[in-house]
């Protein structure tokens, strides 16, 4: 592990370093560009801290191993990119259904399919939210720098433990494969899952206002059934509509109830903004540069950078829609977050997309020109 202090490292290395400091002691994965350095660094470092690294036969098995490790009591993670993320979806669904805390890193590359294997995109915005079938709330974080690859990986573990749910770190090939400054703190704050203390427990039901049940681990002595099929609070299979509905509503509510705390938006220049530029991940970098340039030119633009993509901050954006005259949404896909913004602002202000695909990150100049065009229409 790198010592605390200032380093010049790849985003992927920062992610692995953050994971170990957050308490991750189990990693299962299958190599894929541009996520390989996470896997490689975990293979090197986990055994040194008493953890386990497993290279599995594929991404389906990787995700299954992560779920098993979590139920054995470990903080567990896997990392992949688009094609592997697609394969993981079935078991990610199993993790939602069984309320298994774990972290899945998707270092997005340009797709669909093999696409441009080494080149970045933000095309998995919806796959991170709706990739598995069924009903669930996803928690998805989006880093814009090497530093945030570290910080948000730590946060991903903490949220996973707190809500007993998979958390997706939706990075991209630009940030993962870029070397820049990382400052590793002396200590990071970590969160541990609620564990049962009594003689018995209901691992899938709770009276607690958090709606997050206690989680025993295998081998502790509790009677423990874990199944992807509909189950009652004790874990016993029960297909009755009442049981399944209660389960799904509670799982949804435990996340939505805390949306205000999971919400993570970094604003710049929004105080007097007429144009709100909304972006996330790598595309937020040039967006920030462009907003600063526009402001120097006297254009009242501001940046809203989403570090939590899901739950999408609908209520918050609805409020902002009453304060600005236009939205510009910058992303490296053909228009995904822009749909959510449109839903949130509900036609009250103009929403313009700036979309880039083909494996490139927009430039400051491109975003600046788009801001100017929006400004001219006001």
């Amino acid at each position: 592990m790198l010592p605390p202090g200032k380093h010049l490292v790849l985003g992927n290395i920062a992610c692995a370093e953050g994971a170990i400091r957050a308490g991750c002691r189990f990693f299962a994965g299958y190599p894929i560009t541009p996520a390989n350095e996470i896997t490689q660094h975990m293979a090197e470092e986990l055994p040194r801290v008493g953890g386990y690294f497993l290279q599995m036969e594929d991404e389906i098995a990787s995700m299954a191993a992560v779920i098993g490790a979590s139920w054995a009591g470990a903080k567990a993670m896997t990392a992949t990119s688009g094609p592997g993320f697609s394969l993981m979806q079935e078991n990610i669904g199993y993790a939602y259904m069984t309320e298994t805390p774990c972290v899945v890193v998707d270092v997005q590359r340009s797709g669909p399919s093999t696409g441009q294997a080494t080149m970045p995109s933000q095309q998995d915005f919806y796959q991170a939210r709706y990739g598995a079938h069924g009903d669930y709330e996803a928690v998805v974080l989006s880093p814009w720098s090497v530093q945030e690859m570290f910080d948000l990986t730590v946060r991903a573990f903490n949220l996973a433990e707190r809500f007993r749910t998979p958390v997706i770190l939706l990075a991209d090939g630009m940030i993962g494969h870029m070397m820049e400054k990382l400052v590793i703190p002396e200590k990071v704050e970590t969160v541990e899952r609620r564990r049962p203390a009594g003689a018995s427990c209901t691992p899938f039901g709770t009276e607690d206002p958090s709606l997050v049940p206690e989680m025993p681990r295998f081998g502790e002595g509790y009677r423990l059934l874990v199944t992807g099929s509909s189950h009652d609070p004790t874990g016993r299979r029960d297909y009755s509509p009442r049981v399944m509905e209660a389960k799904l509503r509670r799982m949804r509510e435990k996340i939505l109830r805390a949306e205000g705390e999971v919400r993570d938006i970094v604003e710049a220049g929004m105080g007097d903004a007429r144009i709100a530029v909304l972006s996330y991940g790598a595309s937020a970098r040039p967006s920030y540069g462009a907003v600063m340039k526009a402001r120097k030119e006297g254009i009242r633009a501001g940046l809203m950078r989403l570090r939590t993509l899901w739950p999408f901050p609908e209520e918050y954006l609805s409020k902002v829609a009453g304060e600005v005259e236009a939205f510009l949404v910058v992303e490296m896909n053909l228009g995904k977050a822009v749909r959510e913004v449109e839903r949130a602002v509900h036609g009250r202000v103009e929403v313009t997309p700036l979309t880039r695909v083909g494996g490139v990150v927009p430039t400051v100049e491109e975003v600046y020109q788009a801001i100017r065009r929006v400004d001219e229409c006001l």
């Binding site: 010049l8 294997a117 080494t118 630009m174 494969h177 870029m178 070397m179 820049e180 400054k181 790598a282 970098r285 040039p286 920030y288 540069g289 600063m292 490139v360 990150v361 430039t363 400051v364 100049e365």
Partner: protein, 181 residues
């Protein structure tokens, strides 16, 4: 300043970019370093982008290079258009000779410097340190950092058997160019 290092996979382009980035970072600059290489790993096109600034860097893609280092003729042809007007191109002399043979006109709006990197490296007995010769020349010309910072990094990070030869390559490249005002 945006520096674009280019060559053919196996020439040490990525390593050179990383070493240069670490040296600039050590000297206190903000640095963003990205690289790309072909799926063939050796023999394909290869580049490393080093973005250097006194301030935080928000443009992540190098649209215009202030300096291009070209270690191979295909790399030169591929990236020469990315050099800004008034920028600098540092070429291995062997590449410059090949371009001349092929009748390729050099751009007149950029300064082209040739460094006999391949030859010097061969004289040192290690053709693979041509990248370090070019980094030595770049350090001299860009005046962003002291050569000592780079040499110290080589001493700290490279395996012992390769330290001395890399340092000698850096020094040879550095002294191959006159100091410019």
């Amino acid at each position: 300043m945006n520096i674009l290092l280019s060559g053919t996979g196996g020439q040490g382009v990525v390593l050179a970019g990383e070493l240069l980035s670490r040296a600039l970072f050590k000297a206190g600059y903000e640095v963003v370093n990205t690289h790309s290489y072909g799926a063939e790993a050796r023999g394909g096109a290869c580049r490393s982008e080093v973005l250097v600034s006194d301030e935080e860097i928000y443009d992540l893609s190098l649209t215009e290079a202030d300096v291009l280092i070209a270690m191979s003729t295909p790399a030169y042809r591929r990236y020469i258009s990315r050099v800004r007007n008034g920028g600098t191109v540092i070429l291995d002399s062997a590449v410059a000779e090949e371009l001349e043979r092929l009748g390729v006109d050099l751009r007149s709006d950029v300064e082209t410097i040739t460094v006999p990197a391949r030859r010097v490296a061969e004289e040192l007995g290690y053709p693979i340190v041509a990248n370090m010769v070019l980094i030595g020349a770049l350090v001299k010309r860009s005046r962003l950092i002291d050569l000592e910072v780079v040499k110290k990094l080589v001493e700290e990070e490279m395996r012992p058997s390769m330290r001395e030869i890399n340092i000698r390559a850096l020094e040879a490249g550095y002294s191959s160019l006159p100091l410019k005002d």
